[in-house]
């Protein structure tokens, strides 16, 4: 039965049909599937399946990424209320858009996926000063700072990820905190993340989940 649920849920997500996805989940609950199984056997594998599809199939699109994240986050949030025991959190992330950048779509996709993947994520909003990224990461005991930038000057300028790197260095935090970047400019130049001092980059918001989890594990081995 679980296989049919997974298949139906995946189809709904790939068709960007949130109503159908919730219908599958509700039916699964009614059939006695636990909330834990829905999250760990259905939702998280669906996010991972989308990551895999993005790699293999250039025809996946932003609408699918957005809905994958939104549906996953929303279902997970509802299922967590029904969990017998709180799930183990993989790690903590602070996320925001770089100073001067007000584009929030990519950040929202990343956050949705991270929530479903059991990563605790704090949204710092848009136009976030580098100092705040670092202050909040320390306050939140985050392993990763995620800096989203849709414009070239916010991706590569001195007030964005580059400044975050300087601050981590100045405060002796480089061993504890990793920097990940994402956004359109990085897609056009895959080496760009290195020039801004990031540890990694993600080509899309869904794949960012995997990249971030890898970074968390670098500084917080499980």
């Amino acid at each position: 039965m679980l296989n049919n649920i997974i298949k139906a849920y995946n189809e709904a997500v790939f068709e960007t049909d949130s109503e159908a996805a919730f219908s599958v989940v509700n039916q699964a609950l009614a059939d006695g599937i636990t909330a834990e199984d829905i999250v760990f056997q259905v939702v998280i594998p669906a996010v991972e399946e989308m990551m895999s599809r993005i790699t293999k199939d250039p025809d996946t699109n932003l609408a699918q990424h957005f809905m994958t994240a939104q549906i996953a986050a929303s279902v997970t949030e509802k299922m967590l209320e029904k969990f017998q025991h709180p799930p183990e959190i993989i790690g903590r992330v602070v996320i925001g858009t770089a100073s001067g950048d007000l584009h929030s779509l990519g950040k929202r996709i990343v956050m949705g996926c991270l929530k479903a993947l059991m990563v605790d994520v704090t949204d710092l909003g848009v136009n976030v000063p580098a100092e705040r990224f670092v202050d909040e990461a320390v306050a939140f005991d985050a392993q990763v700072i995620a800096v989203s930038a849709m414009m070239v000057h916010t991706a590569t300028g001195p007030k964005g990820a580059m400044r975050v790197r300087e601050l981590l260095r100045e405060r002796g935090l480089e061993d504890r905190i990793r920097i990940v970047v994402g956004g359109a400019p990085y897609r056009f130049d895959e080496q760009l993340y290195k020039t801004v001092g990031a540890d990694a980059w993600a080509a899309d918001g869904v794949s960012a989940g995997k990249v971030i989890i890898n970074l968390i594990r670098e500084v917080r081995p499980s």
């Binding site: 025809d59 932003l62 957005f66 001067g100 584009h103 136009n127």
Partner: protein, 342 residues
């Protein structure tokens, strides 16, 4: 031949000494005039002067009436733009903050009478008077399916588009389409003859093929119907769209295609052939770090692919301020050199 005549020849496939060479140096105008962006973009005279100076310095073919993309949001009620001397301005105040605001959104009866148009109008008049007879005058217009992103933010627009009520979505799109139609008419009347139609939802990188057919295409058809496709350039915000070129050509009859640097230019050229103008676009993010030699090699590659069978234009993307002047010069010199027809 004048640059305008060279462009017309490229579109029609008539003989010309070289390909048209387009370049988008927008934010660079403020630096050229030694002004902060906010001061520069506050004046149509200054923007026109910036455009004319950049064109005179580098010798490319076109000038732009575009200040920044958020200008369209200002015409529809946005009251704040975030200026940054390092790069392009952002919309900081969304005209639509909640779905309730959609009903209140007003498309100006006469766009040219709106205060936010005044400086654009001044800029256009100067450009038209100075170089309009000889050089292509470009305008930037956002398609109805994308304009909501400037009015409410892309994530909120995606949410409404994908999960919201269809009637509310369509109410917003009708207003955006009406705005596009009025804006296109205003630009044409003011002398713009190259209308870059920015339609990211016209790429299947944004939405799947099914939604492209059922959503993007009909709204593009509606946008373009009254004014026609004369001078329209199909541009998907640097996203690839090779897989829909044939359908767009067949159904919308658009003649000019601005190909993403991420797309296969040879494939695009084969699809468009002699039925339209293929624009080969350099990856100007990589241009930030390339050497002048790398830059020349890439321009050569694009020209060698695109010039076969004529109907080809060389162009740039967003041209960030971070692109070194040496690479701008190398790029344009190479475009004029490799863009010559024997």
């Amino acid at each position: 031949m004048t640059p305008l005549e060279i462009l017309v020849a490229a579109v029609s496939g008539s003989p010309a000494p070289r390909i048209p060479v387009f370049c988008n140096l927008l934010d660079q105008g403020a630096h050229e005039l030694g002004l902060h962006q906010k001061d520069y973009f506050a004046s149509g005279e200054r923007v026109a002067e910036g455009q004319l100076r950049m064109r005179a310095r580098y010798g490319y073919d076109n000038v732009w009436s575009l200040f920044y993309v958020g200008k369209e949001a200002e015409l529809l009620g946005s009251r704040e733009i975030l200026f940054d001397d390092d790069g392009s301005p952002n919309v900081a105040d969304f005209a639509i903050k909640s779905w309730d605001d959609i009903a209140k959104l007003e498309v100006p009866e006469d766009i040219t009478a709106h205060p936010a148009w005044a400086e654009t109008g001044r800029c256009l008049k100067i450009l038209k008077d100075e170089v309009g007879a000889t050089h292509p005058l470009c305008a930037y217009l956002t398609a109805s399916s994308t304009l909501p992103a400037l009015l409410m933010g892309m994530d909120k627009w995606m949410e409404l588009l994908l999960t919201g009520p269809t009637d509310l979505r369509d109410e917003l799109l009708k207003k955006c389409s009406e705005f596009y139609q009025k804006e296109a008419a205003a630009y044409r009347a003011a002398g713009a003859n190259v209308l870059v139609y920015s339609t990211p939802f016209g790429s299947t990188s944004m939405v799947g093929k099914k939604r492209f057919q059922e959503f993007s295409l009909p709204w593009m058809r509606r946008d373009l119907a009254p004014g026609g496709v004369g001078g329209i350039v199909y541009y998907c915000g640097m996203a690839p769209f090779n897989n829909v070129i044939e359908q767009v050509m067949d159904e919308l009859n658009i003649g000019v295609y601005y190909i993403s640097p991420m797309a296969d230019l040879a494939e695009a050229k084969a699809l468009i052939g002699g039925r339209g103008l293929t624009c080969g676009v350099i990856d100007d993010i990589k241009l930030i770090h390339w050497t002048p030699e790398d830059t020349r090699a890439e321009v050569k590659r694009l020209c060698e692919i695109g010039m076969v069978g004529q109907h080809f234009l060389f162009g740039t993307g967003v041209m960030p301020l971070a692109v070194p002047e040496a690479n701008i010069r190398a790029m344009l010199e190479a475009a004029f050199e490799y863009g010559r027809y024997a």
